[in-house]
């Protein structure tokens, strides 16, 4: 499409306004940043940041679609170990805003810290403080739960009712600072006694509806067995959750069961997993008593060596009162001698639903994703990326494809930079995937419905105990619209790299 020479003039005025807003916002940001840097400078060396406790993407070989990740907000959480100070800021609409900051210090074997989460408009969304010893932990302020048993988390309103079948939860939960305002947030206090025998308690008020959440839990971890119990109440509804796990003597097999009874009835998750020789399998099964079609399941099998692996996964669940959703995936990874890996994933998803208004609706989506490392030398690696999605409905087939590459640069383990460039094509009402880089270091597939070009870069530079990182993304649509977003972060490590 040919554009007028003057077409960009109004846009340029807006660009100036964005620069003005960015400059206007800078002093406040600088002041807060200076405050945190000051705290870092005076903090004792025994500082460590409370990090996200979950690999949000799971053990995938190729990146997962964002919609398949249970807690996508953790993708932006910086997972670098032993960062004592973190300041992260986001650039949006031309304005730089502090997004998340945290600092902690230790004295007399007590570690204490505070973190701050700021919203897109600069407003403070969460302030969280904590104090910990080797055994005892106290968190207070605006909290987000991590690692809560999945069935209990659903009943307490801390997680959405998931279509996927999660593994039973046997870890004691952590209540800490939220990674983003998209988390389920609570205002209150949590106490935990950690060790082989664990006890924890929570009293808080949900940030969204103000209802009171009270929960109490305990757990025991043995060499071949573990169990945990949770009692909780959120508003008028109560939940009792019990989970147990048994491991085989050599540790290669696991049987775990979680059962919960609450306002939405009884639910059970059972999981078996075992590895033997080149074969690894896992099966999960969930039943909900109050649902008409209450059973969901997921079976996965993996075979192969480090050089060649193959994984097959089938999953499915009912969706709503009449619908269902299922998925089958075959994923392979091959590492030829002396060359980089080639990974491919093929699969299909099928969704069916029926409603009085829309009638019967069915869609089948077939997809393929591939990543191939073409060459790697002298700290430079080029990887080609490609994906295709074909969605078939009664209206026809809608296609979406993407093709691009990722250049990874590394310099003496001190600095790294990833530059990614992708072209995306998508039919009208079709969808394509593009690889998204996240501040936390993860890569996930984002769905886009319009053709365009996406470019992004993520890098980090380590100078002594300090780490400076950044992420920039830009996307140009076929309509001529341009969207830019960026994040920068500064971290301070507990001690010099290589010394512990």
């Amino acid at each position: 499409m040919t554009r007028s020479h003057f077409a960009g003039q109004p846009r340029r005025r807006f660009a100036m306004m964005r620069w003005y807003r960015r400059l206007r916002s800078f002093p406040g940001f600088a002041a807060r940043g200076a405050f945190w840097i000051f705290l870092a400078a005076v903090a004792t060396p025994g500082i460590a940041l409370g990090q996200a406790d979950s690999a949000a993407g799971g053990p995938a070989w190729l990146p997962l679609p964002v919609e398949d990740i249970d807690r996508p907000e953790l993708l932006d959480e910086l997972l670098a170990p032993e960062l004592g100070l973190l300041v992260r800021a986001d650039l949006k609409d031309g304005a730089l805003r502090q997004a998340r900051s945290a600092v902690e210090a230790s004295a007399a074997r007590v570690i204490a810290g505070i973190s701050l989460l700021t919203g897109a408009d600069g407003e403070t969304q969460a302030v969280t403080g904590f104090a910990r010893t080797a055994r005892l932990a106290v968190d207070l302020g605006r909290l987000a739960a991590r690692g809560l048993s999945p069935l209990a988390a659903e009943e307490l309103g801390q997680a959405p009712r998931s279509g996927r079948v999660p593994p039973p939860g046997l870890r004691s939960p952590a209540f800490g600072s939220p990674a983003s305002s998209a988390s389920a947030l609570m205002d209150g206090v949590a106490l935990a006694w950690r060790g082989r025998h664990r006890v924890w308690a929570l009293r808080a008020r949900r940030a969204d509806d103000g209802s009171t959440v009270r929960a109490l839990g305990m757990g025991v971890q043995g060499r071949r067995a573990a169990m945990s119990a949770t009692l909780g109440r959120a508003g008028p509804s109560a939940v009792a959750d019990l989970a147990a796990e048994l491991r085989t003597r050599e540790g290669r097999g696991v049987v775990a069961v979680e059962a919960a009874r609450g306002a939405s009835g009884t639910a059970v998750i059972a999981m078996i997993a075992r590895s033997a020789g080149p074969l690894r399998v896992q099966g999960r099964w969930r039943w909900r008593s109050r649902e008409l079609r209450g059973v969901s399941s997921e079976i996965a099998g993996e075979a192969g060596s480090r050089r060649a692996k193959l994984r097959l996964r089938l999953a499915g669940n009912s969706s709503g009162p009449t619908g269902s959703s299922s998925r089958v995936e075959l994923e392979g990874r091959l590492v030829p001698a002396g060359q980089g890996p080639l990974a491919v994933r093929f699969g299909s998803t099928r969704a069916e639903s029926f409603s009085n208004g829309a009638g019967y609706h069915a869609s089948i989506e077939r997809f393929a994703i591939a990543e191939m490392q073409v060459a790697s030398a002298d700290g430079r690696t080029l990887t080609l990326l490609a994906s295709r999605r074909d969605k078939e409905t009664v209206l026809g087939v809608r296609r979406g494809t993407s093709l691009g590459g990722r250049l990874a640069l590394a310099w003496r383990e001190r600095a790294g930079l990833e530059i990614q460039l992708e072209g995306v094509r998508a039919d009208k009402d079709g969808a394509a995937w593009s690889s998204g880089l996240y501040a936390g270091g993860a890569t996930a597939l984002r769905t886009t419905t319009r053709p365009g070009i996406a470019a992004s870069a993520r890098g980090a530079l380590r100078l002594g105990r300090w780490t400076l990182g950044g992420l920039v993304e830009q996307r140009d649509d076929a309509s001529g619209a341009r969207a830019t977003a960026a994040s920068i972060w500064i971290g301070r490590q507990l001690r010099e790299s290589g010394r512990g």
């Binding site: 097999g253 075992r274 020789g277 099966g283």
Partner: protein, 271 residues
């Protein structure tokens, strides 16, 4: 009227699951439910030598009176295994009866053969029984891998049929399976292809929990379904329970009980 009776039974099954027709349920034991495979003969949870006798009861799709009962006796010798099965499925007034005889080669050969003969009968109250005989074959090929084995099973189910089955919708099919075994794990991709082009693939996971317990889980497609079953053996007694759930609705649940001869260490052969 017989056709009408067959239709009524089909309708009952079709109401519960539009994937099923007359005589299409081959096996509704917990072992089959765990494999999400009503349409295939199930593999036993445990392999044992000598005599065994088993029975099971299954309720289908919460339809009033729609049940399946099965009784089987088996003898596993040095080079062959013989299984005789009686199965009935239906509701009061309309029942399918299947007598089945399996002769399976066992041992350590790379390729093992087996033959199946069935007598199918549809019994409706006040009407003469109608049915016929079928026969099929099955081939199992085993490839030894460095740390396990790969089994490939290809069968021709109901390839030969007598004329009495005309009009009852009994058709041949080609079941096949690829099964990887390593230690206590078996992972199988199974399917059954029919003349109409219909297929119903499934992934079946078998897992041994010690010497006394076996767990079987499966996920199938077309229709989308989940299966789960557990079997526990104590001495000469084997107890099993299984459940099959269709994503679109419908549950099949069953329990089984078996008496087996004392374990003499097994003799290999078919799974």
């Amino acid at each position: 009227m017989t056709a009408a009776g067959a239709c009524s039974l089909c309708l009952a099954l079709a109401f519960a699951s539009h994937a099923l027709a007359a005589f299409e349920v081959r096996d509704a034991t917990p072992a089959a439910l765990g494999a999400a495979s009503l349409d295939l003969a199930s593999d036993p949870f445990f392999t044992s030598a000598g005599y065994s006798a088993s029975t099971s009861h299954t309720t289908l799709y919460q339809s009033d009176g729609l049940t399946s009962e099965r009784a089987a006796v088996a003898f596993a010798g040095r080079s062959a295994r013989l299984v005789a099965t009686w199965n009935q499925l239906g509701f009061p007034g309309a029942r399918e009866h299947v007598l089945r005889l399996d002769i399976e080669e066992t041992g350590t050969r790379a390729v093992l053969l087996s033959m199946v003969a069935e007598r199918l009968a549809l019994a409706l109250d006040g009407e003469p029984s109608r049915g016929g005989l079928t026969a099929g074959i099955s081939i199992l090929a085993r490839v030894t891998l460095p740390r396990g084995s790969l089994e490939c099973v290809l069968a021709g189910d109901r390839l030969a049929r007598t004329g009495g089955l005309d009009g009852l919708g009994v058709e041949p099919s080609v079941p096949f399976a690829l099964r990887l075994r390593s230690g206590a794990i078996a992972l199988a991709w199974m399917d059954r292809w029919e003349p109409s082009g219909r297929a119903s693939p499934r992934l079946v996971l078998d897992l041994a929990l010690g010497r006394a317990a076996r767990v079987r889980m499966a996920r199938g497609m077309k229709p989308e379904r989940s299966g789960a079953a557990i079997a526990i053996r104590r001495g000469r007694l084997e107890v099993s329970a299984g459940r099959l759930d269709l994503d679109k609705g419908g549950t099949v649940g069953g329990v089984g009980l078996a008496l087996v001869s004392p374990d003499r260490g097994g003799r290999g052969g078919r799974p």
